[in-house]
């Protein structure tokens, strides 16, 4: 079993501004660990995590692939999170290239068909739309969970760029919960973008039924 990245450098104040890794983070780590050997075989060159928060997931991915074997790009809309991502990288001996950005927008021109591993643990909690929009524009810790009606308002904004970003053999890992309607997401990705998805992992954590979905191009 691979150890969880060292997060001991994060202070109480950091965790007031940045989402602290929790069950939804850990299920993503477990899904990546289950896929470790196939991920290593892919020899990924460019990894991109959207909404990297503390940086825990990208640091973990680098422990699977090797810290100097790939480029780890991370974005977050919250500048405190982007700073924590860099520090978590340093603490775990990997350079995480952290950028304050809305989803993957500044990379889309240059990363067409280039992202080998795309990761997103989105703000998936169903809230009213006003709350989700306010959270995104406030760019603070709320933006890490408030997801609007059915918890999909931010995720939907990313989904349409996934087929543009993914490389030929690329994989996209997405965290979801029951109210997001997992079957609908799988169906939509296949119908709209010819991306084949499956449930990589599913687990109950308290009130939440958590999923990790994994998508690949249909031609594989």
């Amino acid at each position: 079993m691979l150890p969880t990245p060292d997060l001991s450098h994060l202070s109480k104040e950091d965790l007031m501004n940045v989402y602290e890794p929790a069950e939804d983070t850990f299920i993503l780590l477990d899904a990546l660990e289950n896929d470790a050997s196939s991920l290593q075989d892919m020899k990924p060159l460019i990894c991109l995590e959207i909404g990297s928060g503390s940086g825990c997931v990208s640091a973990f991915l680098s422990s699977i692939l090797g810290p100097r074997s790939a480029l780890y790009l991370c974005t977050d809309i919250n500048q405190h999170a982007a700073a924590c991502t860099v520090r978590t990288g340093a603490q775990n001996n990997v350079d995480l290239s952290s950028v304050v950005a809305d989803l993957g927008t500044p990379f889309i021109d240059r990363l067409r068909s280039s992202v080998d591993i795309l990761l997103f643990n989105p703000p998936y909690v169903p809230t009213d739309m006003g709350e989700a929009e306010f959270a995104q524009s406030s760019r603070d810790i709320q933006s890490s969970w408030a997801g609007g009606t059915d918890g999909m308002s931010v995720t939907n904004n990313l989904l349409f760029s996934v087929p543009t970003l993914l490389s030929k053999t690329g994989r996209f890992y997405l965290v979801a919960v029951e109210p997001n309607n997992v079957q609908r997401i799988l169906h939509w990705m296949l119908e709209q973008y010819q991306l084949v998805g499956q449930v990589a992992l599913k687990r109950r954590a308290g009130r939440e039924l958590l999923y990790v979905l994994r998508f690949e191009r249909q031609s594989l």
Binding site: L45, S69, L73, D95, S97, V100, D102
Partner: protein, 125 residues
Amino acid sequence: MVRLITHNLLACHAKGCTTNNFPLVFKDVQLEIRESEMNPEFLRNFYPKLEWDALVKTAEQLGDTSLPKTQPPIESVDEEFLKALHHVLLEIHVEEGAMTCPNCEHRYGIVSGIPNMLLAEHEVA
């Protein structure tokens, strides 16, 4: 941290700015050089992804003229060349300053090594 490998992948994405929006131009920068272990296989695999002209031009702006103007074919690349490439791509860190768009002149600030690529609502495409 803004290293040139990341800079080589960032374009201006302001509303209506779709041509001549790359590479962003560094302004008022503070640099830090941090040595790191080289992985030749990674560099060779990344080589075809690079926008070479943008990389060379940007490195020159930052005072590094070690790379040739024309991208040598991958077959001819030796260890010495990879060392220079490694240094330019991964060891030069832009800690403070800004990047501006050559087309619309939008300014993206860099604070503590992190670029802020967010746009105001009216600038979003």
